[in-house]
Amino acid sequence: MIEFKDVTKKYADDPVLDKVSFLIDKGSFVYLVGPTGSGKTTVFRLIIRDIMPTEGAITLGDWDLLSLPRSRVPHLRRRVGVVFQDLRLLIDRTVAENVMLPLEFSGMSEQEAREKAETVLSEVGLEGKFDKFPLQLSGGERQRVAIARALVFEPEIILADEPTGNLDLETSFQILDLLQTINKKGTTVFMATHNNKLISEATRVIILESGKIIEDKKPGKKSEKKRNFQDEDKLEDREDKTKETGEKIKLETLAKK
């Protein structure tokens, strides 16, 4: 379904991904795990050809993404449903209008697009919220809108970039259940997260760190490097803040002298 072969992505000689290779089968559910800055979002951006790799090859089905003409990129993006990390919901459009948006590109009539959007929104549990604006919804509901928008084209694969990023654990599990239900219907789900608490052992997990795959755990096996990157990120944040406070105190002391 999706294959990365020795993919490297550099920004000004600084590698964000370093010879990354993996193959994701059709209909599977795969987690992409790693701390902030490990290259998870870069993997997704490469799949939708938002950026091009510096080296390596990427294929989606029978499409070679590197040689895909620019005019075909919109078609590629309709094959792949994306739930963005920052959701990218349009705040001046209603929930239904947000979900209808990708259908408008395909030239579907407004009436038809609305019916389809409402059906998908009902499937993700948002009946009665069609005419609300994103800012009138809770965090979990907004995630569902983003998932509905990714689903509306009936894509072959869903890329979910930290879909539970800012949600509490209960809501995170609800979103996860939703994605698993979608996967059971045959859609491939590739989900990035840094929250190990969400990952079940029955699923495949690719662990990225500093742009390299440090483990590709197959379903049913125990991870050798299972860590909670969310906690690590929090710890890093705390260390940064402590450093900042220390620097501030130092500067203030120097200023007083």
Binding site: L76, R77, V82, F84, L90, P102, E104, F105, F153
Partner: protein, 286 residues
Amino acid sequence: MISTVSKYVRRSPYQALSAALIMGLTFFAITVFSILTILSIRFISYFETRPQLTVFFKDSATREEIRDLEKNLSDTGKTSSIKYVSKEEALAIYREQNKSDPILLDLVTADILPASIEVQATQAEFLAGLAGVVRGSPLVEEVIFQKDIVDTLISWTNAARRLGIAIIAILVTVSVLVIITIIGIKITVRREEIETMRLLGATNWFIRAPFLLEGAFYGLLGSLAGGGLVIGLFYYFSPSFESFLRGVAIFPISPLMMLELLAIEVIVACLLGVFASYLAVLRYLK
């Protein structure tokens, strides 16, 4: 697509108003100069079809003496026609031209109007020689050389046309720049939305089309307002112009011609709006 355009316009009404106003001003000027051009062409062609040389005679000149002079002119072989207009015929022409003004009719009689001959030359360059033939005659009161009038008119209208073209060129440039700026601001403001649409699979055309249509909309609105206003004012003041230019048959101007002018302006304005938007799209939507 249309609803997207109307949403874009409604979201920033002042920008839309500025774009439509500058387009309106441009097409106001274009319509003014177009109408002036139509009128000047008619004005000049009116004079061009008039006799090229009109010779007015003193009251003492008899018909026989005038005939002799006509013969002298014919004998040069440079005339294509010579038409005699008697005092009575001159009065009839005067009455026809001033039939709506009884005071003027009462004041004038055939006695005070001179007899004249209207001479057409076979070639324009013969006119000076023909004028020389009649100017020396003691029968002749005045010789009007039509070519001088036409030449003066042509030079005036050419100067006015050049001025008009310069003003229009400046206004068109300003309109294009204003639309580029407005569409550019809109693209910048909506950059995130555009990026999201792109990532969701929107084609370039889908993203660009509303901005191009918005430019066309400003053109449509501006040309209808500017052009419509001038045409309306022209018809409103037409009777006054007609009375001012009494005797010069350049009126009426057919409403169909004006509609055609407006239609052409609308098309040009829409294309201009699309062109300006396209430049903005090229600049800001890479």
